[in-house]
């Protein structure tokens, strides 16, 4: 999988690249509009992550250039908070998703995965993790071939975990993923706990293993290896 990151802030760019590379993506990063145009003209990518505000141009024009090339690449816009116009324009000209800065890396990762999954027309669209199997198109989850009945939030949580397997995801990242960023209340962490408890219980009821580890007041990790 090839991902192109167009982000002018070097440190942010290196963080994103590092996080995505651990997913075994081939992640290339460029800092300017000009480099971005050069890259998209030379190579094919599965997903492009583009910042709107570039020093030498607008990320929106990168998207327009991609569309002109009849590219099938998935596009995620990352932009400053509350720039609704960017969001409307971006999605209007064919971007697949929009993420406001600052965002959590697991969130970006989950969105990239979701897009790549959706673009993967050839193969079967499914997520596998040991005994867990998810068919995102039908929102169907099975554990050891037993159908798992989950609430919307539990399902979202499971997908989020599966997208960020073997990673520590913070409570804040989970809260924002499930409820958006208006829920900046301490109480939302209680719900996360409730949802995780329920999810864990449901998986184990169907004979699945307990993959969710708690990381000291920080968050959770979905993994099949011991912490």
């Amino acid at each position: 999988m090839k991902v192109l990151l167009i982000e002018d802030e070097k440190e942010l760019s290196s963080s994103i690249t590092e996080y995505l590379q651990r997913e075994n993506y081939l992640c290339e990063a460029v800092l300017t509009y000009e480099d971005a145009i050069e890259k998209i003209n030379l190579y094919q990518y599965d997903c492009i992550i583009v910042d709107i505000n570039l020093p030498d141009g607008s990320g929106l024009n990168v998207i327009r250039a991609l569309k002109q090339l009849k590219s099938e690449t998935g596009i995620i816009i990352i932009s400053a908070k509350n720039s609704l116009d960017d969001k409307v324009d971006g999605l209007g000209i064919g971007a697949d998703d929009y993420l406001t800065k600052p965002f959590h890396l697991p969130e970006l990762n989950a969105r990239v995965k979701s897009i790549i999954r959706r673009r993967n027309f050839g193969g079967i669209n499914e997520i596998l993790f040991n005994d867990i199997r998810v068919l995102p198109e039908n929102m169907e989850v099975t554990v050891n071939n037993h159908l798992l009945v989950l609430t919307k939030k539990e399902y979202d949580l499971l997908i989020f975990f599966l997208s960020n397997r073997d990673r520590v995801v913070t409570k804040e990242a989970i809260a924002e993923h499930l409820w958006g960023d208006e829920m900046d209340m301490a109480d939302s962490f209680d719900f996360i706990y409730t949802h995780i408890k329920n999810l864990r219980k449901k998986i184990m009821e169907k004979g699945g293993e307990d993959y969710i580890r708690t990381i000291y007041g920080m968050g959770y990790k979905f993994t099949d290896s011991a912490v």
């Binding site: 802030e9 440190e11 942010l12 963080s15 994103i16 590092e18 996080y19 651990r22 400053a80 908070k81 509350n82 609704l84 800065k101 600052p102 965002f103 959590h104 890396l105 697991p106 939030k153 990673r167 520590v168 913070t170 804040e172 990242a173 409820w179 958006g180 960023d181 208006e182 829920m183 900046d184 209340m185 301490a186 109480d187 939302s188 209680d190 719900f191 409730t194 990381i215 000291y216 007041g217 920080m218 968050g219």
Partner: protein
């Protein structure tokens, strides 16, 4: 009270008092002059009578000469020489009533050693009538003059003060965040032009400071976005390290939380400065009921978790023309505020009516001054995690659309009422 009313009133009062006083003095003077003249006439007549008596050595009929009451009596014995003039009340046969007369009485000894008395009476009616006529004429003149002066004064003052009221009007309607600097109409009157210039200069300076401050706020908030994003991303990478011990993780967790708060704070400030800068200028008709429904659904899980019962009462469809994002932020902040400051198993009531909507919630009474409720960084002790910008943002949005918000606390229920 208007300055003009006050000056006119003073002017009127002082003029009336002055006119009454001068009228009284005038009357006394007039009265005096006429009395002196009358007394002079009486004395002259008396002298004429005496001369005639002395010359003719008899008492002729003076009545036919002077045409009024003269009474001369010859006395048998000589008397002292006495003379006085005074007012007296007598029956006037002609008119059939008592009238005031000026009465001259003289006693003398010259008719062959015999004494005589002279009484001359002149009616005062005529002079009194004359005085009354003069006084009335003068009074009418005075009143006319007074009315004219007051009117002239009023209209001149009104005309002269026009630039002043114009300035006041411009100042009242001036808002520091509008596009243009304050401009006041020029006049040719120094007393008005001078303060106008001073005001313009001052408002220009204040406006410049305001713009600088606003720009600084926006730049500061905007420039903080990237560092915060970098910190967050690096921390997220850091916690992926396998060899972190519990203590290290706890420290990172604390940094994480602090960064998140900083991030929220920053976003809030950026939002406020964007509202200030009118960056949400696209408006459309929004349906409050729809936004409330959406927001309540969003918070459903949380309110259920806290056992809060939400009741909606949409009495009237409430459609407002405003920016959809701001409308959503407004409602979200109000609802989240009502949840945050609620009691366990409390209530939230939402009511929409024609000209206002209210969000009420059960809760502890405020510990701080309600007037500070909408200030930035006001937060209750119960929620140390809160950034303290929610209601400040509510206030900003409400001000932007010239709506009005009032807070009341009654029977353990906080109510925020937004009127539009």
């Amino acid at each position: 009270m208007k300055l003009l009313t006050r000056t006119s009133r003073y002017y009127l009062i002082i003029s009336i008092v002055a006119y009454i006083l001068s009228g009284l003095i005038f009357y006394r003077l007039l009265d005096n002059i006429f009395a002196k003249q009358l007394d002079g006439t009486l004395s002259e007549e008396k002298m004429l009578i005496e001369e005639t008596i002395n010359y003719a050595d008899s008492v002729p009929d003076f009545r036919s000469v002077f045409g009024h009451m003269i009474d001369i009596t010859i006395l048998n014995s000589p008397q002292h020489k006495v003379e006085y003039i005074r007012d007296t009340l007598m029956y006037d046969g002609e008119r059939g009533s008592f009238e005031t007369f000026r009465h001259l009485f003289a006693e003398n000894t010259s008719i062959q050693g015999k004494g005589y008395t002279i009484n001359i009476y002149k009616p005062l009616r005529d002079t009194e009538k004359l005085i009354a006529e003069i006084v009335i004429a003068v009074a009418l003149l005075f009143i006319g003059l007074l009315v004219l002066l007051v009117l002239v004064n009023y209209f001149i003052a009104r005309r002269v003060w026009i630039p002043f009221y114009r300035t006041i009007n411009s100042l009242t309607h001036y808002q520091i965040n509008q596009d243009k600097p304050l401009t006041l109409t020029k006049t040719d009157i120094y007393e008005f032009n001078h303060p106008n210039e001073a005001l313009e200069k001052m408002s220009k300076k204040i406006r410049q400071d305001y713009i600088n401050l606003k720009e600084f706020n926006e730049n500061a908030a905007h420039e903080l976005l990237t560092p915060v994003a970098i910190i967050k991303s690096k921390l997220e990478l850091l916690i992926q390290r396998e060899n972190l011990d519990e203590q290290q993780l706890r420290m990172i967790s604390a940094v994480f939380e602090a960064t998140n708060r900083m991030s929220k704070l920053n976003q809030g400030l950026l939002l406020i400065s964007k509202i200030d800068n009118n960056q949400f200028d696209k408006t459309e008709e929004i349906d409050l009921a729809q936004i409330f429904d959406k927001t309540l659904e969003h918070f459903e899980e949380m309110s259920e978790h806290l056992g809060i019962v939400v009741s909606k009462n949409y009495l009237h469809p409430a459609k407002l023309t405003m920016n959809p994002i701001l409308a959503e932020i407004l409602i979200t902040n109000l609802v989240s505020n009502a949840i945050r400051h609620n009691l366990p198993s409390g209530r939230i009531e939402i009511e929409l009516s024609e000209s206002s909507f209210t969000v009420s919630n059960t809760g502890q009474p405020l510990k701080t001054d309600p007037s500070q409720l909408f200030e930035r960084f006001r937060k209750s002790e119960n929620n140390p995690e809160s950034v303290g910008l929610g209601l400040a943002i509510v206030q900003k949005i409400i001000n932007l659309y010239r709506m009005n918000v009032t807070y009341t606390y009654h029977d353990g229920i906080h109510t925020l009422k937004i009127s539009y």
